[in-house]
């Protein structure tokens, strides 16, 4: 009976999970070996042709590079800021709750709204950035229209959006550290920086690794802001993998190639998931 009950209870959720996660993942893989069908030429098996054109597609490589720079730009800075925020908010600070609220607020906003708010900073001439630049005598600059500055703009905005979210993990970890440690440090006459470097930071290592993996996964999933700010431009300078998949599928209607790109994305996500899983395993070991 337990078999019947178990499966009966699971069935409704299982049907939906299979229909929208497992089946499409496998169908995507299958699709990547076929050509995109048209009204005159139906889809046919092409082997690894799609993967060959992927390797020869300069936009694909650029998008991967962009994803790499986007991750490298956002992750270390937002982790460092998150740690700093957590240390401050964990210490005795006047109006601590207010400061914590300020740091965390961007987390509850949709990326679309964030992009709307930040678009204005980057607008040439009337935007805040150009106004500040004008104060220093610099001329107007098209921040989002220039391939050299566009990625920096997106990185700054994403750091603002994410740092507060990562802060709460550090905050929880800090609060679980025994207070005796700090007392012992003080008695021994350790400076705050020394204590942080030799005691707090190493103890927070599992949190740092955990946040690192999460941040990496996020950097591949965050694309909403591109719809408002740049549409991947100029000349693909700010395009990211998931956004490129969207373009290929819904603007160029090349479904087979979009599937091929999706397979790459799934592959990357799986690698991160395996790393994440191993981290969690290790952390269980600590206890």
């Amino acid at each position: 009976m337990r078999h019947v009950y178990g499966w009966l209870l699971l069935t409704p959720a299982a049907i939906l999970l299979v229909a929208f996660t497992h089946y499409p993942a496998l169908a995507t893989l299958a699709e990547s070996f076929f050509s995109t069908g048209t009204a005159v030429r139906p889809s046919r098996f092409v082997g690894i042709d799609n993967y060959e054109s992927l390797l020869g597609d300069p936009v694909f490589w650029q998008v991967l590079r962009n994803n790499f720079w986007f991750a490298l730009g956002t992750i270390p800075t937002s982790i460092a800021l998150a740690l700093l925020m957590a240390l401050w908010v964990n210490a005795r600070l006047p109006a601590r709750a207010l400061v914590r609220m300020a740091y965390f607020t961007p987390t509850v906003l949709p990326m679309i709204a964030v992009a709307n708010l930040w678009l204005y900073f980057y607008t040439p001439q009337i935007g805040l950035l150009d106004k500040v630049a004008a104060m220093f005598g610099a001329g107007s600059h098209n921040w989002l229209g220039n391939p050299d500055t566009v990625m920096g703009c997106l990185v700054a905005m994403t750091i603002w959006k994410e740092a507060g979210f990562f802060m709460i993990f550090y905050l929880a970890a800090l609060q679980s550290l025994p207070p005796e440690l700090e007392e012992a440090g003080r008695i021994e006459g350790a400076s705050r920086w020394y204590f942080f470097r030799r005691v707090t930071f190493p103890l927070l290592m599992p949190t740092t690794l955990f946040v690192l993996v999460n941040a990496t996964i996020n950097s591949f999933k965050l694309v909403d802001h591109l719809f408002i700010l740049t549409k991947g431009g100029p000349d693909n300078a700010s395009n990211l993998l998931l956004y490129y998949i969207y373009q290929v599928a819904f603007s160029f209607f090349d479904v087979a190639y979009a599937a091929t790109l999706t397979v790459i994305l799934l592959l990357l996500l799986s690698i991160f998931a395996v790393v994440q899983f191993q981290l969690i395993e290790k952390r269980v070991h600590y206890r």
């Binding site: 337990r2 078999h3 009950y5 178990g6 209870l9 699971l10 409704p12 959720a13 939906l16 999970l17 929208f20 996660t21 499409p24 993942a25 169908a27 995507t28 699709e31 700093l84 925020m85 401050w88 210490a91 005795r92 600070l93 006047p94 709750a97 207010l98 400061v99 609220m101 300020a102 740091y103 607020t105 987390t107 509850v108 906003l109 949709p110 990326m111 679309i112 992009a115 709307n116 708010l117 678009l119 204005y120 900073f121 009337i126 106004k131 979210f165 709460i168 993990f169 999933k221 719809f227 408002i228 998949i245 969207y246 599928a249 819904f250 599937a259 999706t262 799934l266 996500l269 991160f272």
Partner: protein, 266 residues
């Protein structure tokens, strides 16, 4: 103890962090002429909100988002409760494999598989429906995982006592497990509502008319530079779209942070 210098730095960073939002408030509540000049005596106005409300079909978008969020959450609560109960208390054949397959969704969210999921929705005739936006999210691996963890901590004795009293399996679930897992349900609901209130890519793909588009999609169309709407009105529209969630966050900060943390840790 931290030095006064650090306290000041913490404060400066906090103000810096709030400034984009504060700036949006400034622009939204003042006439467009004052959008970029910070004159403390500038007249206050609600005209931008009125305009935003009129330019885009905001009432409709609000309604769609509320319907979407409610529908998804209701379905998630039912489906995840049943599945989590099965995983926590029934030792059925293939349980561990099934659970591992459920966890796959933590990594591959439906919006990553946009091409195939769009095709499935087309086959089901659910393109441009609110159900089409919500359906892929209704069986949530995160919800199943979270509830399973909670259910496992509930002592078996309680369940056995209820069984002796003549409760059926579903009765046990409803009378023992669900009430005891209330904090988990609250945490999960906050995460789910925030996620779907803010979700954009999948709703954008699957909808193509005002009658189904949620707020985020409406906001994206309205705020796009080519729409030519002026900055004050965009600020007002953006604030309206985020207001419900923002107010809820300000009221229940602690709950929000704790829920988001659980969602991160999984």
């Amino acid at each position: 103890m931290i030095s006064n210098l650090e306290k000041a730095a913490a404060w400066v960073l906090a103000i810096l962090w709030l400034s984009p939002l504060l700036y949006a408030f400034w622009a939204a509540f003042h006439p467009p002429a004052f959008a970029t000049t910070f004159d403390p005596l500038a007249p206050l106005t609600l005209a931008n909100f009125e305009k935003a409300w009129g330019y885009a079909p905001f009432p409709r978008h609000f309604l769609n988002t509320v319907v979407l969020v409610t529908m998804v959450l209701a379905a998630q609560l039912v489906l995840c409760t049943l599945a989590a109960f099965a995983f926590a208390r029934f030792d059925f054949a293939g349980r561990d494999l099934a659970f591992a397959l459920v966890l796959v969704q933590l990594m591959i969210m439906p919006e990553v598989l946009i091409v195939e999921n769009y095709r499935t929705m087309a086959r089901l005739g659910l393109i441009d429906t609110i159900l089409g936006i919500g359906l892929p999210y209704m069986a949530s691996a995160f919800g199943i995982f979270l509830l399973r963890q909670t259910f496992k901590t509930i002592p078996r004795e309680l369940e056995e006592a209820a069984r002796v009293e003549g409760c059926s399996w579903l009765g046990v679930l409803w009378r023992v497990y669900v009430p005891l897992a209330r904090p988990t349900y609250l945490a999960y609901a906050l995460v789910s509502v925030s996620y779907h209130w803010n979700n954009f890519l999948w709703p954008l793909i699957v909808t193509n008319s005002v009658s189904t588009r949620p707020l985020t999609v409406g906001l994206a169309i309205f705020g796009a530079p080519e729409s030519g709407v002026d900055w004050s009105v965009i600020s007002a529209g953006t604030l309206m779209a985020v207001a419900p969630l923002l107010v809820a966050f300000l009221l229940f900060q602690r709950q929000f942070m704790q829920s988001f943390m659980q969602a991160g840790i999984k």
